[in-house]
Structure formats: C-alpha cells, structure tokens
C-alpha cells in the first residue's frame, strides 16, 4: 500500500512453492513384497488421557488416545448380575466409540479437518475391529478404574495390489505405493485367539484366489508385528509400575 511504512514489504513477484520443492521419486522402488517397515511404538505418552499410544512406521505417524467413560444416554434398568466377574446383558453393555482424524498437514495436499466420508468409514472400521476384543459386558456402569479389559490385542496390517509389471500384493505399503495401487486391503487379527477381527478391502482385484492370498499375507504380517506391540505394552506397564509409589 502506498505510504504504508509499518509493514515489511514482500517481493514484487511471487512464485508458487512447488518450484522450489525437490522432485519426489515418481515411481516407487521395487522391493520385497513381504517386507514390513520397522515400527516404533510407545504407550503411555499422553498424561491427560486414560491410555494412549504412538506409532511410527516409515513416514506415517499415528497418535491414539483412550478416554472415558462418558455418560450413557438414557438410564436403562435391566436385570443383570452386578459385581466382578459377571457379564451384563446386551442392553447394559458399555459402548465403544472410535474417532479417526487426519491432521491437515498429513499427506501431500492439505485436508480440512471435517474430512468427509472417508474418516467416518475408517472410524467405523476401527470400531468394528476393536469390538470383539473389548470386554464391554464388564462395564455396564462405565467405571474404568483399572483400565479396559480385553480378550486379546488387535493387530492390523495393510496391503496394496500393484497392477504392473504383474499383479502383486505388497505388504505395508507406503503412501506412493498406495496411490498407485489398483486395490487395497486392511486386515485385523487377534493373535492369541487366532481370529480375524476386521477386514476392509476396496478396488479392482484380479481373481478371488488373489484376495485370499492377500488376506493370508496380511495375517502373516500381523503375526510378525505382534511381538513389537507386546514389547511396547510390557515396557509401558513396567514404566507405570516403577513410577507408582510403593
């Protein structure tokens, strides 16, 4: 503005920042289809939440927090055994609510916080995968003093189908690989019970056998990830035990 001496003037001409950005590799490098990226996992990071976990795999960073309980809507009176050990009937079970959010700076393009349908779909998939493992019947009153009781851990693994040179399923895809994929699959496994807790797939796959092969590959990946999560939880429990006053 003419005569504006308070502001620092920028340059007359401006260029888009992409000009100066380094070109990323357009084609993802070929790799072993069954490789899993090294995972860094840590639990008990957020002091404000009842429980929390942080996970890093490659360039992906995930932070998760568990909070609750919230007041259940409506007061439902039911006949059910109270006290330790008893499981409440269906009307009195606790409810699991999952929320999935992507930060605006995650990914190549900025995403505004209400991410539309995709975030809701993934949150629902997450909830469906966790529900069989959580003992919701133990919490008719929603009192979470000792932590949420679970039957088993739920380990998840993702896969992508690369159409060329020949259709191959890649375990634990990076963002580039996912963008170029013809189909994607996510599988969740409860390792000790050996039960599949969740399965989410989309895209154009080749044949049915290929999908079955992909699920098998995914379950193998889950089994390989399980010891990492096991160690992470034990370390967190040990830290909690050491920190608590004797």
């Amino acid at each position: 503005m003419p005569g504006d001496h308070r502001r620092i003037r920028g340059p007359e001409e401006s260029q888009p920042p992409q000009l100066y950005a380094t070109d990323e590799d357009e084609a993802p490098a070929s790799r072993d289809p069954t490789r899993l990226r090294p995972v860094y996992a840590r639990a008990g990071l957020l002091s404000q939440a009842k429980g929390s976990a942080y996970l890093e795999a490659g360039g992906t960073k995930v932070l998760c927090a568990v909070s609750g309980p919230r007041q259940a809507e409506g007061s439902e009176r039911g006949i059910g055994p109270a006290g330790a050990g008893g499981e409440a009937p269906a009307a009195l079970r606790g409810r699991l609510v999952c929320e999935f959010r992507r930060a605006p700076f995650s990914g190549r393009r900025r995403r505004a916080p209400p991410g539309g349908g995709e975030e809701r779909e993934l949150a629902l998939a997450l909830q469906e995968a966790l529900e069989p493992a959580v003992r919701l019947g133990r919490y008719p009153r929603g009192q979470l003093e000792y932590g949420v009781e679970m039957y088993d851990l739920v380990v998840g693994c993702g896969l992508s189908l690369m159409p060329e040179p020949s259709p191959t399923w890649l375990l634990d895809p990076t963002r580039l690989e996912e963008e170029r994929a013809a189909a994607g699959l996510t599988v969740a496994l409860m390792p000790v019970l050996n039960q599949v807790a969740g399965l989410l797939g989309s895209g154009e796959g080749s044949q049915t056998e290929s999908w079955a092969e992909a699920v098998r590959l995914g379950l193998e990946g889950c089994q390989r990830l399980y010891p990492v999560l096991q160690q992470c939880l034990v370390r967190a429990a040990r830290r909690r035990g050491a920190a608590a006053p004797p």
Binding site: Y151, L193, G241
Partner: protein
C-alpha cells in the same frame, strides 16, 4: 476445649501376597485352570487362564485353596468399595427420603474416581428409624463416615448406612461457614455464632480426642 477429629480404619488383609512375578498383556496365556483360579483382570477359555489387562501378574495363595491369579494395572490393591467397608463420603444433595453422597475414600485410601452412594432415611439411625428427618441428620457439604450395605444395581449407586454409633457426620459447616463442634450424638454447635444445628454425629473414638 477443642476436640480434633481424625478418622482411621485399619486395612484388613486375609490373604498372603506373593511378590509380583512378571508383566503381561491382554490375551497372554497365564496358566492352567488346575494351577490357579482366575482372579480380577483375567478370563478363562478352554481350560486356561488368560490375562485381560496390561499390568503385573500376582498370585495370591490363600491357605489351602488354589492360588488366585490376577492381573493388576497398577501395583496397588483393589480400590472398589466392598460390602461392609467403611467409606468416607461427602453429601451432595438431600431429599426427604434419602441423602445422595459422593464416596471419596475407602478406608484410608482415596479413590481416583468418586462413586455415588445413597443413604436412605431408614438407614440413618438404628433406633426410631421412622422418625428420622434427613434435614436434621445431614446437610449438603457434610463429610460422613458410612458403611456399605449393598453394591447397588446398574445405576451404580452404592447403598450406605450410618446406623452405628461410630458412623455419621464427622465434619460439618454451619450456615455461617464455620466448622462446627459436636456436642452430642444429634447436635453440633457453631463456635462463632453458638447456634446449634441438628446432625447425626459420629461418635469420636477416644484415642482421637485431644483435650
């Protein structure tokens, strides 16, 4: 004469605790049903005991019976008010039929989440139960020593009683905001205005009186 009140209940233990063995995660198989019986934080499946929490494994061996295998998230003893436990609570609201309280302490250990409790009109006193007036026994804000008589139903309201000499109001503030001094089992007096107010007062145990 000033009497100071402090309340203390002993921690009752009936079992011998073996020091913690190791840390475990949900889903970890702990032992056979023949080697132990499932305690809190565990579940049984196919004849084995599995852990349900991420915490430390403890085996409590009662004399004679199988050891009770349980998993505890923090290395502190269970803090749920049990039937017969003496609890310290704060009155949140009163009614002509009952008083609602927040349970703050179980014995001498503070609770992280406060539970809700109810003291019914007929559980305030042991004698002349029908002539009780809640308004003359408790007021909102009073600290009360009570005993748990029932864990309650799904509404998570513990049922409490003060029908004993040692149970009842221990700390109360008068209408002028000053802490009152008990003068009998049913009256407390404000030291500033000297007005008497009705409460169901807990009998102070002689060892806690300073004269």
């Amino acid at each position: 004469m000033r009497s100071s009140l402090c309340f203390h209940t002993g921690l009752e233990t009936g079992a011998v605790m073996v020091p913690p063995v190791r840390y475990c995660i949900p889903g970890e198989r702990l032992c056979n049903l023949e080697e132990g019986s499932p305690g809190s934080g565990t579940y049984t499946r196919h004849g084995y005991i599995f852990s349900s929490l991420a915490g430390c494994l403890t085996k409590r061996s009662e004399n004679g019976a199988l050891p009770v295998v349980s998993v505890m998230r923090e290395t502190e003893s269970q803090l749920l008010p049990d039937v017969g436990a003496i609890v310290t609570c704060k009155v949140s609201s009163i009614n002509s039929r009952f008083a609602k309280v927040h349970i703050l302490y179980v014995g001498s250990t503070p609770l992280k989440n406060s539970f809700r409790g109810t003291i019914r009109k007929e559980d305030v006193r042991a004698t002349e139960k029908d002539k009780v007036e809640i308004y003359k026994s408790f007021r909102p804000g009073d600290i009360v020593l009570a005993k748990v008589i029932s864990l309650g139903d799904a509404q998570s309201n513990y049922l409490l009683t003060t029908a004993e000499n040692e149970l009842g109001v221990v700390v109360a503030h008068s209408e002028s905001g000053v802490q009152m001094v008990p003068i009998s089992w049913c009256e407390m007096q404000c030291p500033k205005t000297h007005t008497k107010e009705f409460r169901k007062v807990a009998r102070v145990q002689p060892e806690f009186l300073q004269t």
